[in-house]
Symmetry: C2
Subunit: 153 residues, 2 copies
């Protein structure tokens, strides 16, 4: 029986120290992303310190979640389009060129956040990801992320 692995479980040791998504960063957010059909999904529970005002989630946390989750989606989509599993070599790596977040309404604390990312466009070196953040049924933030593929080392 195959255990569900998240995109981040395949990251290299160098990538696994990332504050947002690295499983080896014990102070970090350690987000986990997975496919749900054409959408890449991440669930995250804000911690008490992740606040902006009383009861409202900090916008910088939202930007951080969107950044790492969208990059994970770009990476996973690249493996998928090449018909490769994520544990095959050479590793595919993307970094953020632009992060554009619109805060639509306040995001409440004490609610699990769900990020849903879709690939809008793929070019040779650039992937455009659209990512929405939901608190319950409410979409509270929406973003476009331009991810750039790193040359193979």
């Amino acid at each position: 029986m195959k255990t569900l692995k998240y995109f981040q479980d395949y990251y290299s040791p160098q990538h696994s120290i990332c504050f947002g998504c690295g499983s080896d960063n014990s102070s970090g957010l350690r987000i986990k992303s997975f496919w749900e059909g054409e959408e890449s999904v991440c669930r995250f529970m804000p911690q008490p310190e992740h606040t902006a005002f009383p009861g409202i989630v900090y916008g910088g946390l939202i930007a951080s979640l969107i950044d790492c989750h969208s990059i994970a989606a770009a990476i996973a989509a690249a493996y998928r389009s090449e018909g490769r599993e994520m544990d095959t070599l050479p590793p595919i790596m993307y970094v953020t060129a632009n992060l554009n977040v619109s805060y639509l309404k306040p995001t409440p604390m004490n609610t699990e956040l769900v990020l849903r990312a879709r690939i809008r466009e793929v070019k040779a070196r650039k992937t455009v990801v659209i990512c929405s953040l939901f608190a319950g049924e409410q979409e509270t933030a929406k973003a476009e992320v331009i991810a750039v593929r790193m040359p193979q080392l």
Copy 2:
């Protein structure tokens, strides 16, 4: 003799719990912003956990610093344009409507970061802030932040 106070030293108790700029959030970044002529400036030393890859600062931290520093600039500029000190009532408060960060090059760890924000445009309810992040002499990220003034409670 007057001691230098930072913009964040004037924030209300509600705002002082913010992860990015609240002096009461002991887990947070506790950034401090001040005027240098027409520029609002903030200096920040990334901590070891604020990493993306070895030697490179996490983009989500950069977005967080830019977000809180730009909002601080919008708030301070509003007091200034009204000819008011920041400890006068009623308090002026802005929140982020849009955060658009371009990552120009990798930001190195072990270097003090300097954020420099300028007011591009002020309307009745909206202030547009341009913010650059420097590591040494290098501008490694540039952003536009749309700040929206909160109605007075």
